[in-house]
Subunit: 602 residues, 2 copies
């Protein structure tokens, strides 16, 4: 007996026995807490066959378990069959998290400290208590995983901020150094990849969908050291990368080998203190730093880069505005094509639609790839919270009911994210009602005005109230921050039911995406991207509101006007009119004519 995965787990158990470990914890994270890890770090997938984006594995002498949340229950059940790995459901009533589960089952627990954050390991140590021990074994699976992928080595490019917007890297470095001076920090280590590449105005493609370069950044008042793929001998690097390194050098940034971060940290340990962010720094590096620096000189806090990056500067805002218009052109061409094809009776499936959308996007100048995997889902598929369109055998899009498409592009001048739910023909009353309630929530939030200092969680109820009043709800956040040619999900702001005290600030770009999902029936999400901006000062305060960046019409055929109400209807008509006027000159004549019909006032 035994399939490939149960064999691998048995092999791991041998290593555990040799070393005297009671348990090991394997995560699917990379050393930089990235949302998507490169293949090298898909350790959970290698060990268990589970391919979901969130899941941690615990192996003991007599148990192997995968901890994952409701998005992956069905997928995990299927993929774990025959592996002997049991599913542990997280975020359900009575769920026992890994640290608490291990507390009475293990004393010595081995983790790959490179792939767990400081905070996660601290939680494990606390649960194990005084008699417990967390052993840090970097690259624990190395000897078993013989064909483990190498570190990705993709070209590094630099951003020309004069052309594409943003702040010159020397100004960002000066800003960070000033922040360090004001706070009394001698060094800062950045390990979150979007923070690193934002600081240096560089981009790569080491990670799917996110234009990142795997690396660490160490900044002092005297130097900026970037630890990345220099280990590929200089002659082995492509010319673009070499040019990028030369440009960085001119701005005082030393490029060193990825692994040289350890030496640099130890070399520096005697002098001064160092600031780190334990929510993203991996535990292995943290332990290493704590060994190099005297007690009390490793200072933990929230990296200031996160907020600075989230507040877009004027040139970035202008880039975003234009990018969302360009992206809207691709979206409208796609929607026109889809409607025409389906109406003609041709059998278009979800996969073909997705590919076609990517093709339209790729015609846009500055396009650098998609910002996440397209969700192209018709009917019941759209109700699955994490639907991944299969290449073969995806559903045919019929001329009735609802089709949902959630997609986005990476462009030199910004990152996009948009969801449209498209009535393909006749819809049921329930589909129309759900469609309209979700839309009303999206519009109510779009129309919000609020005093400076207001956090997204204070506005979340606006997007949900039309649904709530009909006793309906959706299980995800209403809005996430969006990067500038960077990650499509970024903090620190959010618009969520859960508490997050970060105020929305002018220049922040956030999604507005309420939804509704009925298993086996339909899924609806309307997503626009909104820019927080100043909205005047009155005797009653200092006001902010949202500018909608997304420029793509919202189909009115499934709208129930009585439910939407006059105010939201007026907003919708004005929005669709603006979309038409903005895009018509940029569209093929036939598509422009079609868009005129789609945007007629209701």
């Amino acid at each position: 007996m035994g399939n490939i995965y149960s064999d691998r787990i048995e092999a791991l158990r041998s290593i555990m026995a040799e070393n005297g470990w009671d348990a090991v914890v394997i995560t699917g994270s990379d050393p930089h807490s990235s949302e998507y890890p490169a293949p090298r770090w898909k350790q959970v997938e290698w060990l268990t066959g589970f391919t979901g984006e969130a899941g941690d594995v615990v192996v003991t002498a007599d148990h192997a378990g995968l901890w994952t949340d409701s998005r992956y229950f069905i997928q995990a059940t299927t993929q774990l069959e025959g592996t002997g790995v049991e599913l542990h459901k997280t975020r359900v009533p009575g769920a026992v998290p890994i640290p608490q589960w291990l507390a009475d089952k293990a004393r010595v627990v081995a983790v790959d400290g490179l792939c767990q954050s400081v905070s996660a390991v601290a939680g494990l140590e606390e649960a194990l208590g005084e008699g417990g021990l967390v052993v840090d074994v970097p690259d624990m699976l190395q000897e078993l995983w013989v064909d483990r992928p190498q570190m990705p080595v993709t070209p590094v490019t630099t951003i020309d901020v004069e052309c594409f917007g943003g702040v010159p890297r020397i100004d960002k470095i000066s800003w960070l150094r000033k922040w360090m001076l004001l706070n009394g920090y001698d060094k800062v280590l950045l390990s979150s990849l979007d923070e690193v590449v934002w600081m240096l105005n560089v981009r790569g493609s080491d990670i799917e969908y996110n234009p990142l370069v795997i690396s660490y950044l160490l900044v002092s008042q005297d130097y900026v050291k970037w630890f990345t793929k220099k280990s590929v001998t200089d002659s082995g690097l492509d010319p673009d990368t070499l040019d990028s390194f030369a440009e960085l050098k001119m701005d005082g940034v030393d490029v060193e080998d990825y692994d040289a971060v350890f030496f640099a940290l130890s070399e520096d340990g005697e002098s001064g203190n160092i600031f780190i962010d334990p929510s993203t720094l991996n535990s292995h590096i943290h332990r290493y730093i704590c060994g190099c620096y005297p007690y009390g000189s490793v200072i933990c806090g929230t990296s200031p880069v996160i907020l600075e990056k989230a507040v877009k500067v004027q040139s970035e805002i202008e880039g975003m505005r234009q990018t969302y218009i360009d992206d809207g052109v691709a979206m409208e061409r796609f929607l026109h094509w889809l409607e025409t094809e389906v109406a003609s009776g041709r059998e278009v499936d979800e996969w073909e639609a997705s590919e076609r959308l990517t093709a339209f996007r790729s015609e846009i100048p500055g396009y650098r790839g998609n910002s996440f995997e397209n969700i192209s889902a018709y009917g019941p598929g759209a109700a699955l919270p994490h639907y991944s369109t299969p290449r073969e055998g995806s559903a045919i899009i019929r001329p009735r009911g609802l089709y949902l498409v959630d997609s986005g592009g990476q462009y030199l001048t910004g990152t996009t994210d948009i969801t449209r739910t498209v009535p393909m023909g006749e819809c049921t009353d329930l589909e129309k009602e759900d469609y309209t309630l979700v839309l009303k929530g999206m519009i109510d939030l779009s129309m919000a005005v609020f005093p400076r200092g207001t956090a997204g969680c204070q506005l979340d109820a606006l997007a949900r109230m039309p649904l709530w009043r009909a006793r309906r709800n959706f299980g995800h956040g209403t809005g996430h921050g969006i990067g500038y040619y960077l990650c499509v999900h970024e903090g620190p702001q959010s618009i969520r039911y859960q508490y997050n005290p970060q105020p929305l600030l002018p220049g922040m770009v956030t999604s507005n995406e309420p939804g509704l999902y009925r298993e086996g029936m339909h899924g609806i999400r309307h997503e626009n991207i909104i820019l927080c901006r100043e909205a005047g000062i009155s005797e009653f305060g200092d006001w902010l509101d949202f500018e909608t960046l997304t420029c793509c019409h919202i189909d009115t055929s499934a709208v129930v006007k009585d439910i939407l109400g006059p105010e939201a209807t007026a907003w919708l008509n004005a929005y669709n009119e603006r979309v038409y006027r903005t895009l018509a000159p940029l569209l093929p004549a036939e598509t422009a004519t079609w868009l005129r019909h789609k945007t007629v006032s209701i």
Copy 2:
């Protein structure tokens, strides 16, 4: 030179010099952190002449200052004239709180520990740092304040829960004891007066507007000791009080002298631990307890009584419903009278109106007084955040513009609170606009449905959004909890812009009172009282909504229908219709006819 207050401050300085105190802090609080102190504890007023409800005084050798917030800036400036006391503004940008202000000016600070909470003294100690000392001098002003009022001694009555709703005291005591057992607490000391009288089902009138009895309650598994006005020899107590004490005795409650709490605490100190709530317990008792109990056996936390009291039981809910109808009868009679008088050309001033309203209320069976000082304010007076209607020379209510009346009653079957803003005739466009925007916010919140677990701060934006969208706002909370024949302001829930994680629970009674205030022009507030209740379970969750308890029509003459919108207009029409149908049979015929006209659909 010197007026009466500067003389008193000089006398206090002599005491300070004798004792070697660098500074003293005098507060306006009583030993129970009550919202309104009895006259005996109006120490700030006695020392400085300032009569505002919030204000603390600091005296040093060369400075005397009053710290108060914006509600009292004008009043304080007037009242402090000639006293030598300087106004320190709190809650303004750059404001320095008392502890921080004292930090570099004093080493030894004397406080009346009876009149400061544990938390407040802890804050002061922290600010003074290691070299500092906070000396606890109970009744510090005693020797100077020769005619200081005595402790109030008002009759104590018991609540017949069979008749008037609520839970029998023996059940409440059992509940508290179970909570103590589950948490491992041997004793609980309650000092917040509404918690004490709620536990015992007793009421008094020691404090204006609040039916409280000044006392402490000490509960163990073996005894319940109530420390109150027994020092008035039994023969000096009125028959009702003696009956109440006898009834309590039968339920196992020992009544002892107010000051006997110290002896009881010291007697008990050797055995077990004690639970206290430092947010309301005074510092003097806390220090005393810490001297009696071993280190580590004084446990601080949030009193469980606060939440238990806030969640009304079925009989209380029924009592509240009827009480708000009765209160509505008084309100409608008053509003009819007011409109008729003013229309007739007679000069009714704010004071007369206020008195007349109280007269109507006092005709209701079960009426036990007002629940706070009536706010009866016409025109610009209503814009003052803390307007107190003067007996002499109050404004005449003219047949134009807006009149605001915020009032409430104490009844055996509940406490009421209602604000109506009444258009007395022609209103300006701005008055109508403001009136309608505030009303729309009140209605939008009334219509909310939300999942179990939602806190008031997540709904606050609903009540403000119509104003926010017009760049207008109000500076107070949207809603506070309301007691059952108890304090008109109670926690733990609130509906506020500020974070308060307490979820709204079925059975909680909260106000819904957005407003708008334009200095020199007009003030508007619409206040209904809303009961949180269950609203069904769907596949998407477990739902709660609000039932409006307040039963008094809302004037439609100043409503701008286009601003209110169809949904809120429908709510308003249905509400007014319900008010009419409920109250008409209970009103004098003429008033019922008048109300029919006032509640015609718009």
